[in-house]
Symmetry: C2
Subunit: 308 residues, 2 copies
């Protein structure tokens, strides 16, 4: 199944009547990865019918409140609902101390382990992986410690050409090796090449999350060829100076990164509360990179293949 | 003007589709006092059109998340909106460390002072006062440090009987003393008694907030004769054992406190998420204390006079 991205919050800094601070959920394989967790994220999940069971990994980009103030509330609710499964928290080193202090002062006794995995500003690193996907972090240029996330499916096993495999009477025990790419040699020493026995698997897909950051072309290297890129677009071009001053980006700059990175698709979000209507931000981005969408709360985005 | 109470949150522990965690605003004289500040309080304020300017005092009962997780977000928004006026935070001693840590880690530079006033579990004390009202705190029996709040108008000046005052040609300079209760003696040594020159002012009104607490009749002493009592009612009578185990109260127990205290009116809230319909909780309380209302988000309650 294609990974799917659910937008729970799209506002920068402060909530508005229509928008909540940053939060997204990426469904990948059987996992739900929560990316940033602004205040009210748990209420947004209730509103959009997304259960918090199945979330075993949470990625926090940085410790500005609009990206993590909802986390302790979500952890508290998970605890009250009887969670026992450990929870992985990937984020800035300071996150651990904040959460542990709140847990202690609130007299909370969690029945599950919090596994803190601190992000680094010094490298592009694989910070977590399973059999089916991996999460890499990379530094973003913001006012405090801040990283982006690149979440990628791993290369999948090749699909068997069942018709051909049966025709050749290949024993079931050999299927695994063939799916991993090996050729097959029968008892008479006759070899059949792997490409005659298998089809290409679906190409692994990747999702990149970049919020918050000043315009920084070096980001394009980290997220090169990703299938879906989320990039913050706090302002429009006419406020480019303001964007630079606060280490944020414009819609046009987000689109430039998508183009440089050869992303298949771009989503822009983290909109300043000054914008009641988002159409002009979308148009600005599309003038540079046509395959752009807005992050609209409650909407789902498929992480699609290139040109798909 | 009568003090007015605005309910922003009425849920216990976790938010539901319909209810948010505890938060209320008491408008008293020209002040807005925020009492508890669960996650999403700032969004509730936006929803109900309550501006955060004019909030100079925030009372936090205890450090369970459903009573304060929205505070740092509100402070952050106040800061981003350019607040310069100092903000008084009355709450458990641990609150200071938590907020200061989050401010530090987020690189926030507030342009206004946070004045922390720690509550005590050992006494019934006047913790803050102005010319027109005072705030007292008293211990509640919960699982962690937790206090209630009694917010009372001060006795007002007497109202001049303007007709009589003019009839007697009393100089304007003497009005102030007369309003404070003095008699008036003219140049001929003739004295007019104060009750002939003034009317009684409106009786001072008081609002008491009790959340969270096990059933504790000693609370009635602290909130004796209050005009409006808010008392938590997490459960119904059939879950009285559960209420006791978790140091909470039932609707019936809340009503018993109101009756013991001779409150003019009772509001119950902090409802368990198990209750979709609140009618039965109201009926249970009313069977003991008829002048009971439910805390419904978005609703306003007047702090009325006794029998008013």
């Amino acid at each position: 199944m294609n990974p799917e991205l659910y937008i729970l919050g799209s506002s920068s800094a402060t909530p508005t009547r229509e928008r909540h601070p940053s939060a997204q959920i990426l469904k990948i394989e059987s996992e739900k990865i929560l990316i940033d967790c602004g205040e009210g994220t748990q209420s947004q999940m209730i509103k959009y019918g997304i259960r918090h069971t199945g979330i075993n990994t949470i990625c926090i980009s940085h410790l500005h409140g609009d990206h993590y103030f909802g986390l302790i509330g979500l952890i508290s609710t998970m605890s009250l609902m009887g969670r026992t499964q450990s929870l992985r928290l990937i984020g800035p080193p300071g996150l651990k101390q904040i959460l542990e202090l709140q847990i202690e002062q609130g007299g909370m006794s969690l029945k599950f382990e919090l596994i803190f995995i601190p992000t680094s500003m010094d490298k592009f690193e694989r910070i977590y992986e399973t059999d089916t996907f991996e999460i890499k972090t990379f530094p973003l240029k913001h006012r405090i410690h801040c990283t982006g996330f690149l979440i990628s499916e791993k290369k999948k096993e090749r699909n068997l050409n069942i018709e051909r495999v049966k025709e050749l009477n290949i024993p079931v025990n050999d299927y695994k090796k063939i799916k991993l790419g090996e050729n097959f040699t029968n008892g008479h020493g006759e070899t059949t090449m792997n490409e005659d026995l298998t089809f290409d698997p679906p190409a692994p897909k990747s999702y990149a999350y970049c919020s918050d950051t000043i315009f920084d072309p070096s980001i394009a290297e980290y997220v090169k060829d990703c299938n879906l890129l989320y990039h913050e677009a706090t302002y429009m071009r006419n406020l480019e100076d303001r964007a630079e001053m606060y280490f944020h980006s414009t819609a046009e700059q987000a689109a430039k990164i998508a183009k440089l990175a050869n992303a298949a698709h771009l989503i822009i979000g983290h909109f300043s509360s000054r914008y009641d209507h988002l159409g002009p931000l979308l148009e600005e981005a599309k003038s540079v990179f046509s395959k752009t969408s807005l992050a609209i709360e409650g909407e789902k985005h498929l992480v699609k293949i290139h040109n798909g």
